[in-house]
Symmetry: C2
Subunit: 358 residues, 2 copies
């Protein structure tokens, strides 16, 4: 006996019975594809009427099990986006993804059910949850490498927002051109007379960090400057950045400018603001400083730090466009797209101080 509490949702079989045809006919009418013009108009109408009357809607699971498309794109983030202050950073990506998904005629499936950080796994419960969607956009800094590898091995169609690499195989991505942007930032500082430029990088060795370092070295080379490895400093937590640090670098290394890699949250900006407020070191009079990226949100009362900004919504849109492209191909090959960043002049860099160490 079927459960009588919640009425079972109607299936194609129900419609078929109701309209006096076979389930196969219903399928042909509903999915409306190539073979559907084989159906007589009267039959088609009868089926549609029955479907409307019974309130039919296709079962996604069955459809995608069969191998067909269900017109869902997934969005999966490796970090929790919504509850934290990171959301200000990720929201523009989401916007772009959402917008383009709608424009392409897909619906968006937000993978978010995680009870704890440990559960934040694509393969939670032994299953690749992403497979519910036709393809997936991935996002986030703290990638689980083994999962990314597995995804590539399964060759599930996905596009990463941000450049990513895996050991074997290639990842499709839409990335920001950190190399060029960082290099340009070095060039600008060099133009203003700086010769001792410190690069403050994240500890983790992720692609975005590697790209910035590469841009730093490239920029120095282009300017004809030597790389002093002591000027590449790792910082576990940008909140640790203090006036003491900066004064030490100025005094001991002759540093006149600092490039800082920001985080997706507000820690870096908070640290900078604290430093400014302490008035122990002035930017850019004592030292120029520029951000290799853009903190989450920019409110007008915040200081206009020199930086470059990512076209986040554009990247989201481009990722969806690429994904839909991949889905259309029989033998999809990985694609890569790099989008330039925008230089934001700001007011935290200036000419190198004259009194610097020679």
């Amino acid at each position: 006996m079927p459960p009588q509490g919640r009425r079972r949702r109607p299936t194609q079989v129900d419609i078929a019975r109701h309209a006096g045809v076979s389930q196969a006919t219903v399928s042909l009418v509903i999915s409306g594809g190539a073979a559907s013009d084989q159906i007589a108009e009267s039959t088609r109408q009868a089926v549609l009427a029955a479907a409307a009357e019974l309130g039919y809607s296709a079962n996604v699971a069955a459809r995608s099990l069969k191998g067909g498309r269900n017109h869902l794109l997934g969005l999966y983030t490796f970090e929790p986006v919504f509850p934290t202050d990171q959301r200000d950073f990720y929201y523009p990506f989401l916007l772009g993804v959402e917008e383009e998904t709608a424009a392409q005629g897909y619906d968006l499936l937000l993978f978010s059910s995680v009870s704890s950080a440990a559960d934040r796994s694509i393969y939670a419960g032994g299953a690749n949850r992403l497979k519910l969607a036709d393809g997936c956009v991935l996002l986030g800094r703290n990638v689980r490498r083994e999962e990314l590898n597995a995804l590539v091995q399964e060759d599930f169609p996905f596009v990463f927002i941000g450049r990513r690499e895996v050991d074997d195989g290639e990842v499709s991505y839409v990335g920001a051109d950190y190399v060029a942007a960082t290099s340009a930032m070095v060039a600008e500082l060099h133009r203003q007379g700086h010769r001792r430029i410190l690069y403050l990088r994240a500890i983790e060795d992720t692609e975005p960090t590697r790209d910035r370092e590469q841009g730093y070295r490239k920029g120095l080379a282009a300017a004809g400057l030597e790389v002093d490895e002591r000027l590449i400093q790792g910082l576990a937590d940008p909140a640790d950045l203090s006036a003491e640090h900066v004064l030490h670098w100025i005094g001991n290394y002759g540093v006149t400018a600092i490039l800082v890699e920001p985080t997706e949250d507000n820690r870096l900006v908070d640290a900078l603001t604290a430093m400014t407020d302490s008035e122990r070191v002035r930017f850019p009079e004592d030292c120029s400083i520029a951000l290799l990226g853009e903190p989450p949100s920019w409110t007008p009362e915040l200081r206009d730090w020199t930086r470059f900004s990512l076209p986040r919504a554009d990247m989201g849109r481009a990722a969806v466009g690429m994904l839909v492209g991949l889905l259309g191909e029989a033998q999809p090959a990985a694609r890569q797209l790099t989008i330039p960043c925008t230089f934001v002049p700001g007011d935290s860099i200036g000419p190198a101080p004259r009194g610097g160490r020679p």
Copy 2:
């Protein structure tokens, strides 16, 4: 011949063959449920080893096909949320919905694939798209009544954010208490000496508007004031609100205070700002003014209008909680929940001018 381009992912059958057991045994081991302690330890290990070696991951589609539920909650908005400036209004709802959805262990399906306003129908394509999800949260002001009716008839589980009524049957909703909030606003104005209070309502006769009007009448009654029907004015577009209007009301009707129903976009605030800038009428010196709700986003440089604000994220969370509750019931009955609004004092109301008409 299997397609060699996209390699087929291993299934339980593959593992079974590999481990020399049956598919059923694999399923028992993998899903690990109640009956899995029936399996000999040696067999279990063999299966797990084979699964690991082949890189098995369960197929969600098949799993949820078998089970009926797919652990998806839908979010459908009757207005386009993302590309417009309305998004600032709807975003907090989305936040709450997303957060609670994740907390409840569901994924969120955003229905957004609409190419035109005409397509913005639940029943586009003759099928109820919402049914892709186990249940759905609905949102938006411009509801399609006939669709809402149909949804209720189908008894598809859904919760509306905002109070809604249908002709027959009951809608589950999480609404804001506009009646109490508006009534309280009237009381506050009365306390400050106002006797001639104009209510500027939306033209459309939706529940939120009706509730505000009810609160207005209730507030007047509680203050012992008569209702002058001329003081209830409809405004098709809040952008039409001008200094001329206000001066006319002050001069001809003796109005000393105005209550305005805001829109989800920035039109009302723009109109108010324009009026303030024109300096033809001053708030609150010439006339007090308060908003019956809250415009999309509040940036610090914006004037601090007196208003009340909706606990939008809370409403989103509550809606999801209610929906999950409904899904858990065998015979779900409609539920209603009303959440109080917060009074924001602001600076646009003050004591009634003395020189007003008696």
